[in-house]
């Protein structure tokens, strides 16, 4: 038996599905070929790794959770579940639209405030104008000396 033949029968050998003679030859080949023996070891480990699942089982509360789900299923009939599926996104969309609407209203209000600032600006300009009229005209240095240093 050569290595190629050994490789072509690897899975059958692992699952013990090759005929008696072939199995015997495979074993003999492995005894004399270290590479094939290593390869078989690696592939056996991969195929055997699924064995752990054989001991698996659901946990102790499996049926309790399942019956709770069944109760919920009975409590809310199919049309209610569909209604919920539609109602939830609809409600979310309504909230989003309401948020946009409120935001727009607030912005609008802020826009209305602007004329008031314009009024303030206008009043300020008038005061400046009035002050200009009443302030004595002349040299700034003279004014400073007169009013601030009493000279």
């Amino acid at each position: 038996m050569n290595c190629d033949f050994f490789k072509s029968n690897l899975l059958d050998f692992y699952y013990k599905e090759c005929n008696k003679d072939t199995c015997l030859q495979m074993r003999e080949h492995m005894d004399g070929c270290h590479q094939c023996a290593t390869l078989f070891g690696k592939i056996s480990a991969v195929l055997g790794s699924a064995d752990a699942v054989k001991n698996e089982s659901p946990d102790a509360f499996y049926y309790t959770r399942l019956s709770a789900k069944i109760t919920t299923m009975h409590d809310s009939p199919a049309h209610t579940r569909w209604l919920l599926r539609i109602a939830q996104p609809l409600l979310a969309a309504c909230f989003a639209i309401f948020g946009v609407f409120v935001g727009y209203k607030i912005y609008d209000k802020l826009q209305q405030v602007e004329p008031y600032t314009a009024q303030i600006d206008a009043a300020g300009k008038a005061e400046v104008q009035l002050a200009d009229e009443y302030l004595p005209k002349g040299d700034n240095e003279e004014l400073l000396n007169t009013y601030f240093f009493n000279e």
Binding site: S8, I43, V46, S49, V53, E56, P58, Y62, L66, K69
Partner: protein, 183 residues
């Protein structure tokens, strides 16, 4: 209890009959789902969905097969859909914790060894995923769930010889995939 009587009791909403079906079939349905590469926590949810679906559609159940066969079909469909949907995410996360290690001897198997086993299992499921869908179902049910060709033919609704052929081709393909990997 005869199968027809059991079905009638399930249709009438008999909780004891339902519990009996769940208790009898839950472990194997759970393992079938896990053997398709689904994580433990997802496998629990999926297997519960299998029973819920079966319970919802019990009136559609035709008495031409065993109830377990019907549950297997639902479980396989759900598993394949789940794996397709979560390809690259949940599957990639199939880890050591997915196997209930507390039931085994931590002291005997070192954490390093457990890591290696986890890697090997990932390699196995990734390799099986490369098979065609029918080959994959037949191979998984036969080699991992240890079902007979007859049981698989009932589940897949194909002849026994077709099952044999599928498994034979699956073995050759899987062998080549693994040989390529270890080349």
């Amino acid at each position: 209890m005869a199968a027809s009587e059991l079905i009638n009791r399930l249709i009438s909403g008999d909780e004891r009959a339902f519990k009996m079906v769940v208790d009898t079939n839950a472990p194997m349905i759970f393992r079938v789902i896990m053997n398709f590469g689904v994580r433990r926590e997802d496998a629990e949810d999926l297997s519960q969905e299998v029973f819920l679906d079966a319970f919802r559609n019990i009136r559609k159940f035709r008495n031409d097969s065993e109830i377990s066969t019907w549950l297997y079909r639902i479980a396989i469909n759900k598993s394949l859909n789940f794996v397709k949907k979560h390809k690259g995410s949940k599957r990639a996360n199939f880890q050591l914790e997915d196997i209930n290690t507390f039931d085994r001897n931590w002291s005997v198997e070192s954490s390093e060894q457990q890591f290696v086993t986890g890697e090997q299992r990932t390699l196995l499921y990734n390799s099986i995923e490369k098979l065609s869908e029918n080959q994959r179902i037949a191979f998984t049910l036969n080699k991992l769930d240890e079902l007979s060709y007859k049981e698989i033919s009932d589940i897949m609704m194909i002849s026994v010889s077709s099952v044999e052929s599928l498994i034979h081709r699956a073995k050759i393909k899987l062998q080549n995939i693994l040989l390529d990997f270890f080349k």
